[in-house]
Symmetry: none
Subunit: 122 residues, 4 copies
DNA sequence: GTGGTCTAGACCACC
DNA sequence: GTGGTCTAGACCACG
């Protein structure tokens, strides 16, 4: 599953799961048609409630990243060629826009941000 | 006060106040020794609860940005020369490190991030 | 068999099969006495479980549309003259009544519904 | 609240609540800014679990019909002029398209459907 | 007071 | 076996 949960994070657990799985799918590490583990098994592995896992799965389905077949399981969705890249870029751009607003609120110029980014981007 | 509150933001109100005031202080727009308005007056201006304002003030004090004098008011803290810049950079670096981790989780290279950042950084 | 199954439909598979077969019978495309394929063969053709096919067959028998003869097979039922039309109309009227209630709950008049229906009824 | 729940319906309870409330909002019976009852109170009135109500409320928010303010309550959203009509028509058209497909599967002509509709549309 | 999240445990429909 | 729904009850953050 390769999902790490932190109880200390201010983010709700279901969202941590959602974000990590969506990242895995959008990076292509989980291929189309791949069958996710059953929610009850995933709940055991992650040591969270079944409902918490289900909530994350629901978000993934709502985003069009997985497809649920009742009685069979949940499968990574098919993507049209290029669609996966497009979705990835949209998600990242949304985040970047928020981040940029934050930096600007401190009066940072674009060049300053780039300079700092180079330092922390291992 | 120059603080804008949005009920539609997913951020709690006290945090919106905290972030905007800390940005004002760290940008130097509120000088050392400046006296913040009494919380009751600020609450009226911002149309929020006194409790909410108090919580924001407490956060500012915890960050060392303001200093409360009982019975007199809350004052923007004194900063040693350069200290204000240092504090600003520390806050920004913390955020940038988190952001960088997020971008990397999608497999983006530093150059790609910089390219996107240039687009959204008006 | 002329039955199309969609895993992406929100309807359960057995119901998809039931609806399509009942429509075929009520439209007269499957005549009285016609012998349905054995459930195992139907399951292979439709690429679904035998249990699923059996459930659809059971629904058809419950509706009086087919008749099972143990050891021989399942046959489309005999209809008295006019009976098939009557059954068809009863099923459709049940659905139409439900639909009409839904439209009315939004305050639509009969004329508005008819107008919209003309647009979507290719 | 004017919501009627049927345990006999094949539709899940949260969806029944969602559909009826969205109909009320789209019909304009609940005006913009109207504050829905707290989920716990609604749960008592409707004699269902708090979570079930919450699920319905979440769907409403996802559809853009209500707006949740943590700690204050849930309010009927503001609509741009005409937007509410547009949304209403979109929802109804979706349903009508499904219904039309069903009628056509039985071989009904448009005129036949209209004829039957006139009978059941009180 | 409000909503947000999480839990454990149950029953059902479907395959 | 799978997911879908519902329950009661708990704790937290926010105002």
């Amino acid at each position: 599953m390769n999902v790490i949960i932190s109880n200390k994070s201010e983010k709700p657990i279901y969202q941590q799961i959602y974000e990590q799985l969506s990242a895995l799918i959008l990076k292509g590490e989980l291929e189309s048609g791949y069958c996710l583990p059953p929610i009850r098994q995933a709940a055991l592995e992650l040591r969270v409630s079944v409902i918490t896992v289900k909530k994350a799965w629901e978000e993934l389905e709502r985003s069009g990243l997985i497809h649920t077949v009742t009685g069979k399981g949940c499968f990574v969705a098919d993507f049209a060629p290029g669609e996966i890249l497009e979705t990835r870029n949209r998600l990242i751009l949304e985040q970047l826009t928020l981040d940029a607003a934050y930096y600007k609120s401190f009066g940072l110029t674009l060049d300053e941000v780039i300079g700092l980014l180079k330092k922390v981007y291992d």
